[in-house]
């Protein structure tokens, strides 16, 4: 009987694939602070930052992940905050948007993906920003006014627009979706735009143009095919 339990435990540990020491969590074994303040933050860099997280895990209240394209703590519960791999949806947005860790603070801060930080905003605060001084605001419900890395937020979830909408008007949303979805953090095709006002578009303030800091020309180009 004992052998069976030992075997089951060993199998579970293998499945979990964690590098956690005894008594510690995956995050405590793998994550550490590493950040720097920013004066320039672009949609392009935010998207590049987020896309590296695709394939990683999901952890409620979490904010630390690696880049091995798999969930390192698949057996860890979604509903607690005990140091599993991955962000939750609001933490993912916080790090991707490079927000400051003080609620309402303007400016930008880059966080290493191994920094286990969720940030001070839950989805309800993204959905209802605290005031004009906050670093994000509700946007007009109009696709012409939205762009990559703007978000759709409701009470309980937030996801960011990844790229062009589809020919049937869905959006590619990059989001921490949660287990057991595969991937827990990934790009999904969703109609959050159509679910207004449950979901509302939210924009981060102060995006720098993608060409920053060396912008020399227009940033919208139409190429004519002969």
């Amino acid at each position: 009987m004992n052998r069976m339990w030992i075997g089951l435990f060993a199998a579970a540990a293998l499945v979990a694939g964690t590098a956690a020491p005894a008594g510690g969590s995956w995050a405590s074994a793998n994550c550490s602070p590493n950040h720097r303040d920013l004066t320039i933050w672009t949609r392009g860099d935010a998207r590049a930052y987020a896309t590296v997280a695709v394939g990683e895990g999901y952890e409620w209240g979490g904010g630390c992940w690696n880049d091995n394209d798999r969930d390192d703590t698949p057996a860890d519960s979604d509903s607690d905050s005990d140091g599993g791999e991955g962000p939750d949806c609001s933490g993912f947005t916080f790090k991707t948007w490079m927000l400051r860790p003080t609620q309402g603070a303007a400016g930008g801060r880059w966080y290493d993906r191994f920094e286990n930080i969720h940030g001070p905003y839950s989805t309800s605060e993204y959905r209802r920003p605290g005031g004009a001084s906050w670093p994000f605001h509700l946007a007009k419900h109009d696709k012409d006014a939205l762009a990559n890395m703007d978000a759709y937020a409701k009470n309980g979830h937030i996801g960011m627009i990844y790229t062009l909408s589809t020919s049937t008007n869905d959006d590619y949303i990059i989001e921490a979706y949660g287990k057991p979805a595969d991937p827990p953090t990934g790009v999904y095709v969703r109609d959050y735009f159509g679910q207004s006002p449950t979901y509302m578009p939210v924009q981060r303030e102060g995006w720098s143009p993608d060409c920053a800091p060396r912008c020399t020309a227009a940033n919208v180009v139409t190429v004519v095919v002969p």
Binding site: T42, R43, G44, D45, R47, A48, Y49, T51, V52, W60, D67, D78, S79, S90, G91, R113, A139, K143, D144, A147, N148, G156, H157, Y162, T163, L164, S165, T166, S167, T168, N169, D170, D171, Y172, Y177, G178, D182, P183, G186, V187, V189, R190, D191, F193, G194, Q195, S196, P197, Q203, P209, A217, A218, N219, V220, V221, T222, V223, V224, V225, P226
Partner: protein
């Protein structure tokens, strides 16, 4: 209807910018496209992905633009430079590529090739292939380095426009409940994961079998469950968390299309036969499944971002194969375009203009008489809300529409909330805090 430009910065941020039309002289003509390199879309720990939105169906004389977007990321999570090449027929008919640096707001203007194609014809199509290069890697819309079949823009000489009626918010038809499953665990319940800083997840898809049974992809319980007369008649074990789409063929076999395990942009189709045997019938489709349909004995899956319908044999088409032909659909926030391709020609092209902002298309089907049935979400500003519009447009352009409640407590695939049953009735998968319902609508009755 013009498709909204996306992947661009908001207009208010464009004020300091100048829209630059790059002339032929500024373009780099890079020659005939072909498969290139042995590289994949995940270069050296970095990522290269390509997206484009085809206008699908245009009217002769309209400007034709294909917005293109490239995600190029280093392994460190920084944006990297990339180029995009769009290849289309030149005046001599040769496929010639035009290259530009990837940038926010980039689009290719295909007006000239489209104008040449439609000259002297009632309808035509223009093939094009888009390719991105960055970090020493190449990606097509299939998100692989292998050249896919060309995408196509269809052009018609005539495409009448019809205004959609505005159905007031909450002026909805209730329908008839044919199945109710409370949330929970067990054969007579539907699995639910309540969202808490994540979406609330319920069954992701359903379909109606040839015998009228309801086939439910119960995502959280990891099963494909069949219900007849409100009772469970069969349950087939699948993996938990499968955010797929299901379609039932005429012979009763169910097909489930979903993202392949561990993949970013690869799809898998499983066939579940009447005995409950599960077989993978397509294991590496080049794209994310986002729509499934059966026609006769065949099944086709819409793949994104290729934006093509693929049969199990790998053949792709722009429109969904149906008994009436290839069904073309394009949706923007201000309208819908529909058309049917038979023998390379587009017939029955129609534009439905909307004063309400539209969300995504949930269903489009030929009506068998030269018209179309479609379901799309419409949003309202004052009072704020959204509901689905069920629209029938006949070959005489008569439009009838009614609304049904969104009832979307749990997340589900956009194109899996509605199905047209073999009995000609419309079925909706609804979710609310108490459980999941399948509701049906008699289209003749509610539209009368």
């Amino acid at each position: 209807m013009s498709a909204p430009p996306r992947g661009s910065v908001p207009r208010r941020l464009l004020l300091p910018s100048v829209v630059l039309l790059v002339s032929l002289a500024a373009m780099v003509v890079v020659g005939v496209v072909g498969a290139s390199g042995d590289v994949g879309p995940r270069p050296e720990g970095g990522i290269l992905e390509l997206f484009a939105r085809s206008p699908v169906l245009v009217r002769a004389g309209e400007p034709v633009r294909v917005p293109v977007d490239v995600v190029c990321a280093t392994a460190q999570g920084r944006a990297c430079p990339a180029t995009v090449t769009l290849t289309a027929p030149d005046p001599a008919g040769r496929m010639v590529g035009v290259q530009a640096a990837a940038a926010s707001g980039l689009s290719f203007d295909l007006s000239a090739p489209v104008a040449r194609a439609i000259a002297g014809r009632a309808s035509a199509s223009v093939p094009f292939v888009v390719r991105a290069a960055g970090g020493g890697r190449t990606a097509f819309l299939s998100q692989t380095s292998t050249t896919p079949a060309p995408s196509r823009v269809y052009v018609v000489r005539d495409m009448p426009s019809v205004d959609l009626p505005v159905v007031p918010l909450d002026d909805t038809v209730d329908g008839e409940e044919v199945l109710f499953l409370p949330w929970g665990t067990g054969p007579g319940r539907a699995g639910l994961r309540p969202g808490n800083e994540s979406p609330t997840v319920g069954p992701s898809s359903f379909d109606v079998g040839p015998d009228g049974s309801i086939v439910l992809l119960d995502t959280m319980q990891g099963r494909l469950a069949t219900f007849g007369d409100g009772r469970l008649v069969r349950s087939v074990r699948l993996m938990s968390g499968l955010l797929g789409e299901v379609a039932v063929a005429d012979d009763g076999a169910a097909f489930v299309a979903a993202r392949s395990a561990g993949a970013r942009w690869t799809g898998t189709v499983r066939r579940i036969d009447g005995s409950g045997a599960v077989a993978v019938v397509a294991g590496a489709l080049p794209g994310l499944p986002a729509g499934i349909g059966t026609s006769g004995g065949g099944v086709a899956v819409r793949l994104l971002p290729l934006d093509a319908w693929a049969g199990l044999g790998g053949t792709t088409t722009t429109g969904r194969p149906t008994s009436a032909g290839e069904l073309l659909v394009a949706v923007g926030q201000d309208g819908i375009r529909l058309g049917t391709v038979t023998g390379g020609m587009v017939t029955g092209a129609v534009e439905l203009r909307s004063r309400l902002r539209l969300g995504a298309l949930s269903l489009a089907e030929p009506d068998g008489a030269g018209g179309y049935l479609c379901v799309v979400r419409a949003t309202y500003e004052a009072p704020a809300g959204n509901q689905f519009l069920v629209i029938h447009v006949g070959p005489d352009l008569a439009v009838r529409a009614f609304a049904v409640a969104s009832a979307d407590f749990a997340d589900a695939a956009t194109t899996s909330r509605f199905r047209l049953g073999p009995d000609g009735r419309l079925y909706q998968m609804r979710s609310s805090p108490d459980g999941l319902r399948i509701v049906r609508f008699d289209l003749e009755e509610v539209a009368a």
